[in-house]
Symmetry: C2
Subunit: 274 residues, 2 copies
């Protein structure tokens, strides 16, 4: 079926967005539309230019017989700034305060658009790293991990506190929660992670970093390597942090239960943006 340029642009845009970081041979498109490769190349030029202008990401063209085009989702720094600022304002709402100084964030994590955007920010900042898999711990980190993994086009593995019969054999470790100092267990299905995998850890909240530190120990059991850590919110009021390098979108600097005041600022995200 012959399809005109206007229709091709619409369909190619959709196809590339649905297949991020996937090499699509030009012949695939030229057969799909009954169009010459030269026309497809022109189409891709228009798409690349628009993607870059609108700050959605970029196309990379690989030439040669095994060549093709790859879409890399990215976010522009100013869009990331706007997003994080808006997020800070939402988190600073005193209605979020729960007994014990905890914050209610369930509504934010339940918003698929917000979650998708967080995923895009992480995929953008870790875009240059070689990543085989995104790892998180159940439950709240799961949607963020999938959002990042979708943009990075890699699978997700989920660490749990309790082994399930439907996971087959598992590897478990004990770790000490950094803030409560309690010993806890973390478990991962043996089949879910290949030895030597390069892992991006994503989580919703980091206080002392005990959970993330536990995940790193667990990864050692798989001879896997941590290539990045991304958290939505970090809490600052900790003397001793168990994790050094991480990327955070938001930093919780102070929670005053009496005064009902939550102090929130931008995390260290932009220190990692080139």
């Amino acid at each position: 079926m012959k399809i005109r340029r206007s229709g091709r642009l619409v369909d190619m845009t959709n196809y590339l967005i649905e297949h991020p970081r996937t090499l699509v041979p030009l012949t695939f498109f030229s057969e799909r539309y009954g169009a010459a490769k030269s026309s497809i190349s022109e189409d891709l030029g228009i798409i690349k230019q628009t993607f870059e202008q609108q700050g959605m990401g970029t196309l990379q063209t690989i030439s040669g017989a095994a060549g093709g085009v790859k879409y890399f989702p990215l976010i522009m720094e100013e869009d990331a700034k706007d997003f994080i600022e808006k997020l800070c304002n939402q988190i600073a709402d005193p209605d979020r305060l729960l007994p014990g100084g905890y914050l209610y964030l369930t509504d934010l994590l339940g918003n698929p658009n917000l979650v998708k955007e967080v995923g895009r920010l992480f995929a953008s900042v870790f875009s240059e790293r070689k990543i085989d898999v995104v790892m998180t711990v159940a439950t709240k980190g799961i949607p963020l991990a999938y959002a990042a993994a979708t943009h990075l086009n890699v699978p997700v593995v989920i660490v749990r506190s309790d082994p399930k019969v439907t996971e087959g054999s598992t590897v478990s470790i004990n770790y000490v929660s950094g803030s409560t100092k309690r010993i806890q267990t973390m478990t991962l299905a043996k089949r879910s992670l290949k030895e030597g995998s390069k892992v991006l850890i994503i989580d919703d909240f980091m206080k002392a970093g005990g959970t993330v530190h536990g995940m790193i120990s667990l990864l050692n059991e798989f001879q896997a390597e941590v290539v990045g850590i991304g958290v939505l919110v970090e809490s600052e009021d900790i003397e001793e942090r168990l994790v050094d390098e991480y990327v955070s979108l938001v930093r919780l600097s102070d929670v005053d239960v009496k005064e009902k005041r939550i102090s929130v600022e931008e995390g260290n995200y932009f220190e990692f943006v080139e």
Copy 2:
């Protein structure tokens, strides 16, 4: 900034895909591109035609002062057939057999592309129903729920087996697991669901339906209404089912541990496709 038609088509396609089921006024696009409304209307005609030809969904145009355009993600019946057939073949792999006749599906649920497609299938089949929120139970149903919710443009609420301090006050119910007959608890943050909400339940696996039945009881506590139930895999070998109307993509008809054979067939999905 003036943008030519070709660039507009690329950007509008992306914008509409990123904002499903959202009313976008034509003035938004005409201001974004410095283009006349009549040109925008022509662009939308091209996009609508391509979306429908390629089976990605449709655009609905609402005329008048409060009008605009809405993108509805859908899937064509033949694409859904192909996807489900492939899924059946993957699930039938005897390597998935675990002790006790359980199946290892973690790799499939860890694949963001597969998960996204499952979400599109559910969003497509429930497209005509009025849905306020997608609900699931931790842990395995979460990615599927987000994938459906993203396409439906509604929030997700997650039911848990254990209340967390970060959720604030919760409502809990006890329920009997249909297959193991054990009494279990299910809990949902009070703040996470408005009274009278119309709820789509999404889960990965349904055997006797005890979990889904429990979720329905929990929803009664919120005076909320179930408007649909979607499960990835249903298991057939159950005498008494606790849930009547549901949509399944895949039906597990027999698991023979001795012979190492898993019998899988298409679920009832297409009975609900118009």
